[in-house]
Symmetry: D2
Subunit: 302 residues, 4 copies
Amino acid sequence: MVTEPNNWGRFGPDDQRGTLNLLTPAVVLDALRSAVTGEVLSLAMPIRGATSSPAPGTVPHLPGRPLPQHFMSVDGGDYAAGARPIGAGLRVADDALIVTHHGTTTHMDALCHMWSGDELYNGHPAARVRSYGATRCGIEHVGGVVSRGVLYDVPRRLGLGHLPADYRVPAALLEEIAVPRPGDVAVIRTGWPLVWERSREEYWSGQPGLSAEAGRWLAAHDVAAVAADNAAIGGLDAHGLAAEPIEDDLHLLLLHRHGVHLIELLWLEELAAAGRAEFVFVAAPLRVEGGTGSPLTPLAIL
Amino acid sequence: MVTEPNNWGRFGPDDQRGTLNLLTPAVVLDALRSAVTGEVLSLAMPIRGATSSPAPGTVPHLPGRPLPQHFMSVDGGDYAAGARPIGAGLRVADDALIVTHHGTTTHMDALCHMWSGDELYNGHPAARVRSYGATRCGIEHVGGVVSRGVLYDVPRRLGLGHLPADYRVPAALLEEIAVPRPGDVAVIRTGWPLVWERSREEYWSGQPGLSAEAGRWLAAHDVAAVAADNAAIGGLDAHGLAAEPIEDDLHLLLLHRHGVHLIELLWLEELAAAGRAEFVFVAAPLRVEGGTGSPLTPLAIL
Amino acid sequence: MVTEPNNWGRFGPDDQRGTLNLLTPAVVLDALRSAVTGEVLSLAMPIRGATSSPAPGTVPHLPGRPLPQHFMSVDGGDYAAGARPIGAGLRVADDALIVTHHGTTTHMDALCHMWSGDELYNGHPAARVRSYGATRCGIEHVGGVVSRGVLYDVPRRLGLGHLPADYRVPAALLEEIAVPRPGDVAVIRTGWPLVWERSREEYWSGQPGLSAEAGRWLAAHDVAAVAADNAAIGGLDAHGLAAEPIEDDLHLLLLHRHGVHLIELLWLEELAAAGRAEFVFVAAPLRVEGGTGSPLTPLAIL
Amino acid sequence: MVTEPNNWGRFGPDDQRGTLNLLTPAVVLDALRSAVTGEVLSLAMPIRGATSSPAPGTVPHLPGRPLPQHFMSVDGGDYAAGARPIGAGLRVADDALIVTHHGTTTHMDALCHMWSGDELYNGHPAARVRSYGATRCGIEHVGGVVSRGVLYDVPRRLGLGHLPADYRVPAALLEEIAVPRPGDVAVIRTGWPLVWERSREEYWSGQPGLSAEAGRWLAAHDVAAVAADNAAIGGLDAHGLAAEPIEDDLHLLLLHRHGVHLIELLWLEELAAAGRAEFVFVAAPLRVEGGTGSPLTPLAIL
């Protein structure tokens, strides 16, 4: 007899979801109308195991962070070497993944990821974020994001291949491109991932990003989330730090003060090439209880 | 200068995607029309770190598999203990996840996960599935699934809370409920996860699942994927094994021979309670290069 | 120019080493004289990866703890499957280990592993034990233990194959066997690991161990460390807990109040069979900075 | 009833131990006589978690390898934040370690770590080195090394602080310093770790090491193991590769053809400063079943 149903599948509006509460069924239905052609694009970079592959490549990431590790516990090589099949002939490959997503791969930040003082978003006590997980504002409260995505292709607007490292996108430029509706996901393209293949040193020399003013403008328009192809929504200096004063820090401004979820390290080149200003944006982080975020594969339905 | 664009975002039809190739833009557009109310449900069980939480709970899983581990590399406790904020006052929580998804959490199987003989799905050489990842039929070829979901609530049809452990769903019963269209995702409810809270021993005593005949029927109707709330799509005996002869093994039948992706260990209770026969089904596995599968959070848009 | 030498190799007496400070060079030299035959025995249980081995065995451990995971990032199977050798023909196997040693494998506890109140051993602030490691009393302060080992083969003394689960070894029995000198390592055999192969349920039904009085007697004799083949030095009840009142808790008594290091989950059967009361005991934990302990392979030189 | 004793503790001479078979009880007893002062030195570098420590330092390692990760599953910070003690007041810190030791920390190579063709050391089939571990020549066959250590302080002999990157130690120079006896461990100091603090770029620009001729000379003198403070016993070029032709590769020469175990990335500065030519060398790798090696803390007893 199940006396206490888990209700793992249900996530209604609550005070640990920030602006995701804007994603009412009506907003979701409206967002689905943004699909025109039905083409589906992934906005995720690949996750590559940082082990002894013959030619281990890497994807854009912040320096000094442990890269993902991917292991096989049994694989085709074992059978080639003589491993016995299971039962009458079944063969299997099985794997394991170690991932510290912040700064290394496409991911979403939970509301417990950053704060100042002793309180998380909405006054939840930061002391509840412990070694065994956050019992407030963890990523499991996100559920899934189904919303209208609005592409802000800033370098295209400026006639550039990518923004320069020290460029901070002003609110006025965003406004020229589009004004979001409540519940939209603002998808910010800087083009900075293109720098990776040219030079890691240049990629790590700084990063373009939103200005604080642009962050405030997006928050004022009640976007549900901000998603960008850079590492920190805001820009980074040559030390890999957000150089803004603390009241202008983009994470504090959006995540901590306004409950706006952040999605970082996207790959937006195919989306940009498709030339569509609006689309259906879907993102469903892993339901890690107490997680500070999750690697994920956001989708754009054009 | 980027001479070789990565094209990480693009995933068109190819011979490593199996029935997902059925998800043409037209099918996607058609699937989106299944949304009526705009309510979004998660179909994932939580991922719980199997470490020294004060009261570590667990979710339904197969015995003998390493459970997920979740660690914080910095958290609110550290600040309570006196850790210095970053810069002028920024505080951060950061985590890491170790996950071996098969058998432990809601996940999707890649086409390289199971085979017999020396060839994977579609004749790809199994010898290409190596310790450093599968260079054929890895989970990164899935991209995202956006399709019509059809719920087969088998216990409700039979007037049961959940199916008994030795029940194998016949094709005729599926046909009574609904006939899928090409590209649909067949979502099979057994109710077996409800047993977990009552008794782990009973949960591990076997599992209900599809009969081989039902698997063939679904494959013949060109479903894009089969998703179930049990651990192995087919049933399991008391030893945790699929007891069918190898030609009737559900994994070989669907994954290996027909390229039908499998999604397992779903949580379907809220979806079942909602009573909707059709909905939009979205699943986007992590883009793990060469992965045999991925943990994921499937969504149902009602 | 190296301005600040690391001095990684040096570990002199300091206040974070507890009774290990008794291991002066004179004590070490004296201990070496305990070697008579020169036979070397390992006192460690094997570390087995808890993944999809064809027949994954396990070794005695506490329930609910994540077992070690062992992965190959390249192996002989990959070469059998066609992987290219490095350069002119070099082939390599490389691996990774994930281990949470407490309760799962032979290991040594650091002085920061357990405490009560707000202070670790010797008054060090417990608030310095943080997510990024303990900056007080971590395992890296142990260096290496080279000492005289004294075997307390309690079941042999009592004419038993192993002690019963509820047996708590009295001080008087230890005293009958031998009186340790300052700096000795007391090696306590309960025989409980023998139960594992007979029945895991019986192994988990409780564990024999030292009485609090015996712990006090050992501390009063200034042993450098206590090493046992059970999981917690003291006994465990059917819930896997040390049922003693807190002033009698063996970990607090030895580790916290007296700075006596603990080594647990040893395999002592060959040592017992050798019938030697004294020997050279050597243990060198991994130099994990800020670690709460370390898996290790203690040696007995007979 | 234990019908099949595990005998985990026993490791006698066998054909998977290479030159360690030279470590007969008589050789061990003789080695212990090298202890004069009783001072114990660690020869290990620290293991530092590569996560979000406020100031994550690193130790000498090869580029592109995943660094160790160290996590706390509960710590003092959690109690500072209000976590409840266990029972009547017990507090605990518990951790987990992820380590890929080759190239990142002080470690010993198993005989299965490198080979050419289809056979490991002594003709064991390389196809037995699989994803779930090596069933031939794994690190668990090492047990423990207790032997006479002979220090070859090459830079001191040449009047240098450290050897230059392109220096390959000739056999004649080793012979000038000392001629090892069968079963000795040759401890080779290059001084290269001192370069790390000056410049990582310089550290990675190449590495000094043994010449092939010196390796042959050591093998001919039946050393039990070769231990060095560089990363690969032999030298490395600017690409991090052993540039020798395959018949001169130090790993193949020592490990594969002669069964001489290798211990790498030692820290030898205090040992060198102590000025002792001979000492007791003790090393006990973790008993990882099927492991390709193990992190470890070698000890020198002076």
